[in-house]
């Protein structure tokens, strides 16, 4: 494979990684908020949060991206493609991250709360000193799996005109006419990006069964 092609693809991969990173960051922050809301907030808010999670997980991301791409001009908002995509994906994956965090917190045995209270911790302190560290350990594997999903889903940004690895591949393919090797290269690129995440997730999964 020619060096210029390789470096073009590498550039695309780099954009993918940056996009994924931004989405993971945004969705984690929102997701944490969502998880805490669903667990501890005023019941009507809890219901709203649950509804949000449901909706996010029932509508394809592509539909959300396309919907936003077409609606934003009508609202008079002109966001650059990347920003729009990151926001949409951030909110979409917030539902998944929320489930990851909520699941991890709920997986800490009830008895730990009692244990914390019995040594004098109360409320917020109990939560942050006793529960949170344990939940953190439990959420690593599903978090990594969700992050993996984020990376793969950044490919959809190409469908609304954003430039990333798949777009790079498409352009190269159109120019060289060799579509099969190019798209195989794109797949390989994703594999290389995802591989460490997947391995890490498997490693964590295997070791949290102690």
């Amino acid at each position: 494979m020619k060096l210029s092609v390789l470096s073009y693809m590498a550039w695309g991969a780099g954009v993918t990684v940056m996009l994924a990173f931004a989405v993971i960051l945004l969705s984690s922050v929102l997701g944490m908020g969502l998880a805490l809301t669903r667990l501890y907030a005023w019941p009507p808010l809890r219901l709203l949060a649950a509804g949000y999670a449901l909706v996010s997980r029932g509508i394809p991301l592509l539909v959300l991206l396309i919907g936003c791409y077409f609606s934003l001009p009508y609202l008079g908002i002109t966001l650059p493609v990347y920003a729009a995509a990151i926001v949409v994906m951030g909110f979409y994956f917030a539902a998944y991250m929320g489930e990851v965090f909520r699941g991890a917190i709920m997986a800490v045995p009830r008895t730990q709360w009692d244990a914390g209270r019995s040594v004098g911790f109360r409320g917020l302190q109990n939560f942050s000193v006793v529960i949170l560290p344990q939940a953190r350990r439990l959420c690593v594997a599903p978090f990594l799996n969700t992050a993996l999903s984020v990376v793969k889903n950044t490919s959809l940004i190409s469908a609304i005109g954003g430039w990333e690895l798949v777009s790079a591949g498409r352009e190269i393919g159109e120019r060289t006419g060799e579509l099969m090797p190019t798209y195989l290269g794109v797949a390989a690129g994703y594999y290389l990006i995802c591989f460490p995440l997947a391995r890490l997730a498997t490693f964590v999964e295997r070791n949290s069964h102690a």
């Binding site: 919907g67 609606s71 798209y183 797949a187």
Partner: protein, 216 residues
Amino acid sequence: MDIAFLLRILPALLEGLEITVALTAIALVGAAIGGFVVVAGRRSRFAAVRAVTIAYIDIMRNTPILAQIFILYFGLPEIGLYPEAFACGVIALVLQNSAYAGEIYRAGIESVKRTQTEAALSLGMMPRRALFDIVLPQALRRVLPVLGNQAVVILKDSSIASTISVNELTQSGKLLLDRSAAPYETFFMMAALYLAMAAIVLGVMKLVALRFPVRT
């Protein structure tokens, strides 16, 4: 929200919905069966078969379905195969989700205690019989919720086919969005239809789970 408009675009969207349902249904069956092939390979006595299966799962896990569908639709013609867009969609969905289904089946099988197999063997059952009649029924019941989620994933991933112009729901919606001046209604309708389908899929799974409960 223009209700009249909503009703006018509905027929076009419903045509797309039909294709989505077809895509999803075929892919569901394909992945359900494919999953068995994958788990059998993953648990095979032959190291080579296991290695190939693990590599397959690895590749499916680490590459986006969009790339896979492009490889099939744009790449295969270069080696003389010209699959239809719909077929590419189905194949990509089945390949991806067989891997996930297989891993779900495997988790289910491994969650059934070894003592169940021992009890079956000690009654004189052959190992394969013990697996199919005693372990598998229990394993599948346990993973029904996860399988249900995976089914919804297949439903959502069917929208990827729109990128190669399969006329399913997302593509129909996209065309409407292009032409009409009312993106909200179109988007709302698309979203509502997907949600309805997801709800039906999950509902069916719930019914199946009621019929085949885990009884421990």
